[in-house]
């Protein structure tokens, strides 16, 4: 297998369950006096960034934190709804570190690194301890103990949650730890600052160039190490569940300066999002996966019914039971509506493509609570109340109350956005881009191929393989920030104690700043006719159509050409109003979309190269006769790490994935 | 870095003084309205005059009166300081405010209602408190009941006085409607069980007390107090 000497994963020797413990105890330490003179730059203030910054500052490092939002508390980790997994086995239902490890590897369709995932499972319990100690108000039982639920079809109850706002509560916990360090002067905070390039000096990452978004001024910042905790790149699709500002710029600039990009094509499409309502749509909103526990997914059996629903001639409530196609229950009787995200998403697309979609655009399926509301919860409540032969109206009334209790806030949100009452009408849902498993390639220490440059959380490629399980993203972000980087950064910084801060007038800084300045001027000087969004939407459509839920070689090749065309037009006909030295949101967006226009090409290239279907990557050429994904372990059991030679020219390096503790099997949910 | 010495200069400390003095003034109203209700006995002011005489000469009451004035002045001074600080906290106002959507007009108008009350109070003290003081110090014979009656039955001036007193009572009512429960909230006295009760008592108090007060000038004018 072709490889690069740079692609050393540095996985410690020894049995899987002792690798981390042993490594942690032997990794080089930096003495407290030296820590005070070592500076660490953290870019991004989500779970990974805030946790890392706070933890490193507590250890004594001098830390600077950068975020483009107006406060670190706004990072998009805040939007995670469902929960966070941890192998605590509080419910005595047979959970263990091994089981969490196994589920995560399997859920990732056998495309993640064993050692990293096992470490993640090992520290998962510590995360819960840490968060509770910070005052994160997790849901509790009446006895005062922590409550758990099962999530995403796992067979154990290992998910900790805080209503539907787990991400928010965890982020506020990390944010408060961060603010504590800010108050003590150990962390210097740079909000409304966007990192626009890294600075490499003598082969090591030594700092960043950031733009103060309020004044527009460029700043140089030195760091002995730089941590990119900048999230995923789902916004390359324009429409996604990401925040409007979520971007790839930090990771992409690092990629252009030598950091390999791992598995860029692995994209998670979440099956239950509110469908697009029109051309004005700016983002998509996720409805928690937990809804699939009680909602049944269907489309009409007959095309003419679907047609009638689309044009408003038929009310779906009046469609007879035998005329409905509960396609997940039909195709996957064992898991039914609870199949993993990638499977559920593809099945929805298949039905809509075949002409059975139900909203005006034909791009939606129903998530229907009527049946379970009445005949599951309604009946249970009637029994509790001692009513033997409840009427239909009673069943509906009782069931309504239960569903409101369980999902009230989600139903409200749905009604808020669509103007439709989901208690009375089936919800309409459609898959949307949600998370990117790919990201900067990192070794066991979370260091990229650029020495001194790290990537944490969604920004790296490491733990979720080709598909992420529900409630695992929060776990990974916090694991990286709280419990991995504080140890592993020592391996590098122990050798940097003699490095004096590099003067900011060093030619490396000057040149990097000049390059950034030039790009900004270039964007402003085009003075074309089209807005940033115009190009972003075009790129998004190409990506969604050709590199979305289903991909094929022909489409991907076309997409690569098309993206290049859009990119050329972008640089010829873009209009960015305003100036460089002022608060200029359009200029910010322009820089980000410029990077998406390059990333998109690499994603397609990676998707084209991976001639198999696995997890979130589905190639139409590689499916079974029943339309299920067909993995090719013999040829593709590797991490694709791309090195940029120049724009449009990448070299592929492969890190072989070795499974020594898990037997690889085909996923089946039939 | 914390210190408790700044308590009285902190936002909450100043509010604490507002709440405490406010509730203290409420307690004065209870005494005031009780004694004045003796007017409704319609015995030619005999009982009322006896009570008024007792209040005017009792040294304990005289001492408490000083406290009352201190409380009143503290309430006014803090209100001024807080209002100035509040104005500074929003130097540029909104072009359009829909306050009715989120709060009652009188809760937003405590400063205005308080100012009206202060003006009323000046008039009220001039009408009754000052003549009594003069009488007490000069040891002159005086009949409080008759003095009150005179104010409200003096032709056109009497009608104006009645109207001004009713307006004063209305201001008091709205001031109390917010202030009563607000005082408890400011002192941190918020309880799932008791707060709803306090709020109810507050509403009843804010309607009954000013109403009883208002009935006095009206009563003199209409002649049902005699």
């Amino acid at each position: 297998m072709a490889s690069s000497p740079k692609l050393d994963s540095k996985i410690p020797d020894g049995p899987l369950d002792q690798k981390w413990t042993k490594y942690r105890s032997t990794v080089a330490l930096v003495n407290p006096a030296n820590k005070r003179s070592l500076e660490v730059i953290v870019v991004g203030s989500g779970l990974a960034g805030a946790a890392a910054a706070a933890s490193l500052a507590e250890l004594g490092y001098k830390v600077k934190v950068f975020c483009f939002q107006d406060s670190p508390r706004r990072a998009h980790s805040i939007a995670a709804q469902g929960g966070i997994n941890a192998a605590k086995n509080y419910q005595n239902d047979g959970d263990s570190v091994y089981r969490l490890f196994y589920d995560t590897i399997k859920g990732g369709d056998y495309r993640a690194r064993e050692a990293n995932v096992h470490r993640l499972a090992e520290v998962s319990g510590n995360i819960i301890d840490q968060c509770v100690a910070q005052g994160v108000p997790f849901a509790r039982e009446y006895g005062g103990l922590l409550s758990n639920r099962s999530f995403g079809g796992t067979q154990v109850q290992r998910t900790f949650y805080a209503a539907g706002q787990t991400g928010q509560q965890l982020l506020l916990g990390a944010y408060s730890a961060l603010q504590r360090q800010v108050g003590m002067g150990a962390v210097k905070l740079y909000a409304r600052h966007e990192m626009l390039d890294i600075v490499n000096i003598d082969g090591k990452c030594r700092g960043i160039i950031a733009r103060d978004l309020v004044s527009g001024k460029l700043e140089r910042h030195f760091g002995h190490a730089v941590l990119l905790c900048t999230g995923g790149y789902g916004n390359v699709f324009f429409l996604s569940t990401n925040a409007m500002g979520s971007n790839v710029t930090a990771a992409w600039k690092a990629h252009k300066k030598g950091a390999f990009f791992g598995n860029p094509c692995y994209t998670q499409i979440h099956p239950t999002c509110i469908p697009v309502s029109g051309d004005h749509q700016s983002k998509l909103t996720l409805m928690s996966e937990s809804l699939r526990n009680d909602g049944r997914i269907w489309v009409p059996k007959k095309k003419e019914d679907a047609e009638a629903i689309r044009t408003g001639k038929l009310n779906p409530n009046n469609l007879k039971e035998e005329d409905r196609d509960y396609y997940l229950e039909r195709r996957y009787p064992a898991f039914g509506n609870l199949v993993p995200r990638d499977v559920a998403s593809r099945a929805a697309k298949e039905r809509c493509d075949a002409g059975f979609g139900v909203n005006a655009t034909g791009q939606a399926v129903y998530l229907d609570f009527a049946f379970n509301m009445k005949y599951k919860y309604g009946k249970i409540e009637a029994t509790k109340k001692g009513i033997e032969n409840p009427t239909e109206a009673q069943l509906e009334e009782f069931g309504h109350a239960v569903v409101k209790e369980k999902y009230g806030n989600l139903f409200d949100m749905y009604e808020q956005i669509t103007g439709v009452n989901p208690y009375k009408n089936p919800m309409q849902i459609y898959p949307a881009v949600h998370y990117t498993m790919g990201g900067l390639w990192v070794d066991y220490n979370l260091m990229t191929t650029v020495p001194g440059l790290y990537a944490l959380g969604e920004a790296n490629f490491s733990d979720h393989g080709a598909n992420r399980l529900g409630a695992s993203a929060l776990m990974q972000g916090l694991a990286d920030g709280y419990f991995v980087i504080p140890y592993t950064i020592g391996a590098y910084l122990a050798n940097e104690i003699r490095t004096k801060p590099i003067a900011l007038d060093h030619e490396g800084f000057v040149k990097a700043e000049q390059d950034v300045q030039n790009q900004i001027q270039k964007l402003l000087n085009i003075k074309g006719t089209k807005s940033v969004d115009y190009f972003h939407k075009r790129l998004g459509k190409v990506m969604w159509d050709k590199c979305g839920m289903a991909r094929n070689a022909e489409g991907l090749k076309w997409a690569i050409e098309e993206i290049r065309k859009i990119r050329d037009e972008f640089w010829k006909d873009l209009r960015v109003p305003g100036e460089a030295n002022e608060f200029n949101p359009e200029l910010e967006k322009a820089g980000r979309v410029a990077d998406f226009l390059e990333l998109g090409e690499l994603m397609c290239k990676d998707a084209l190269e991976r001639n198999e279907s696995c997890g979130g990557h589905f190639r139409e050429e590689y499916q079974t006769e029943e339309g299920e994904a067909e993995r090719d372990d013999a040829n593709f059991s590797y991490v694709a790490a791309w090195e940029m030679k120049e724009l449009g020219n990448w070299e592929l390096h492969k890190e072989e994935l070795k499974y020594e503790n898990i037997k690889i099997a085909q996923r089946s949910y039939k | 870095m914390s210190n408790s010495k700044g308590f009285l200069k902190s936002s909450i400390g100043r509010k604490f003084v507002m709440g405490l003095t406010g509730l203290f003034l409420v307690s004065f109203l209870v005494v005031h309205v009780s004694i004045n209700s003796l007017l409704f006995l319609c015995d030619g002011g005999e009982t009322f005059n006896a009570a008024a005489d007792f209040m005017a000469h009792n040294p304990v009451i005289r001492f408490l009166e000083i406290g009352l004035f201190i409380g009143l002045i503290a309430h006014i001074v803090q209100a001024l300081v807080l209002t100035l600080a509040n104005k500074k906290a929003r130097p540029q106002g909104y072009a359009q405010v829909n306050g009715a959507a989120n709060s009652t007009w009188y809760s937003r108008s405590m400063g205005l209602l308080g100012t009206l009350l202060l003006l009323f109070l000046v008039m009220h003290l001039y009408h009754f408190w000052w003549p009594t003081k003069v009488a007490v110090f000069t040891h002159n014979e005086h009949n409080t009941f008759e003095e009150i009656k005179a104010v409200f039955t003096d032709g056109t001036m009497g009608v104006i006085s009645v109207v001004l007193y009713v307006v004063g009572c209305l201001s008091l009512s709205y001031h109390l409607l917010h202030g009563f429960q607000s005082g408890f909230q400011t002192l941190g006295l918020n309880h799932k069980k008791y707060t709803p009760v306090i709020k109810k008592i507050g509403i009843i108090f804010s309607i009954i007390v000013p109403l009883v007060f208002a009935l006095m000038p009206i009563g003199f004018m209409a002649g049902f107090i005699h």
Binding site: A79, Q130, G144 | M1, N86, N98
Partner: protein, 258 residues
């Protein structure tokens, strides 16, 4: 049918324009024709900005990020109310179906000395971060924690702490308050940690420090009008303010400390 209602309306937008903190601002009027009622309020601004850009004008700057009502970044004062006419939602979750054809919609930034305008509708809320840095935390270094289930918390306390913790830090409370007071924001954090056993150790210190910082930032004083509670998109309760008052009065008077 259960789908998009798809109506179009015409509205007039009067929006505040201000170049930066130091310059004076003024209103600018824009006619918006054929606005789909399925649009969110911010998407209507996207359309307006798109038009301004193609016309070679300066688009309206406004803060927004997640557009699903949780990050707390969006912050428009619409027709005299923070986050507009609907109760319990942020600006990003406000949809045009809340408006009628022919409406004139006045849009202003949050106005408070402690939230200086950066540009147009975007304001600087870093004062909130500084208040948090003054005490909005439990001092527990990473790795110090004991097993999570060693701390038992009555469900009611946990739920109440959660309700207080639901604050998104958007600043609507300050914007709504006639005094531009930040008491609801500060009290939500003070309450959350005062209700939990983890917060007990620093309970007095925390409330003293946070209130001190709040005062230093130039926020106004609470007069219990309740506007903050009514306009809070997350329904944070006024009870929290009473609890903070109690905590503060206790810490500065009764507590045995200098």
């Amino acid at each position: 049918m259960a789908g998009s209602s798809g109506k179009n309306i015409n509205v007039t937008i009067k929006v505040w324009r201000q170049k930066n903190k130091n310059q004076k601002g003024q209103f600018e009027t824009h006619e918006m024709k054929g606005v789909s009622t399925d649009m969110s309020f911010l998407e209507m601004f996207d359309v307006l900005n798109e038009r301004l850009i193609t016309e070679g004008k300066d688009p309206v700057a406004f803060d927004h990020d997640c557009r699903e009502g949780i990050c707390g970044m969006c912050s428009m004062y619409i027709n005299g109310r923070p986050h507009g006419p609907k109760q319990g939602v942020t600006t990003c979750q406000l949809h045009m179906r809340s408006f009628k054809d022919g409406d004139i919609i006045v849009v202003e930034p949050w106005r408070s000395a402690a939230f200086p305008v950066i540009k147009d509708l975007a304001v600087d809320r870093s004062s909130f971060d500084r208040i948090m840095a003054a005490g909005g935390f439990v001092s527990v270094n990473t790795g110090n924690a004991k097993d999570a289930n060693n701390i038992l918390i009555p469900k009611d306390d946990a739920d109440e702490a959660f309700n207080a913790a639901a604050c998104i830090g958007c600043g609507a409370c300050v914007a709504a308050c006639k005094n531009a007071s930040a008491m609801l924001f500060v009290s939500a954090k003070v309450s959350q940690l005062a209700l939990l056993p983890q917060g007990q150790v620093e309970r007095e210190e925390r409330v003293l420090n946070m209130v001190k910082q709040m005062d230093a930032e130039g926020f106004g004083n609470c007069t219990n009008t309740g506007a903050c509670e009514a306009e809070c998109p997350k329904g944070i309760s006024l009870e929290n303010i009473a609890r903070m008052n109690r905590e503060y009065i206790h810490a500065s008077t009764i507590a045995n400390r200098k």
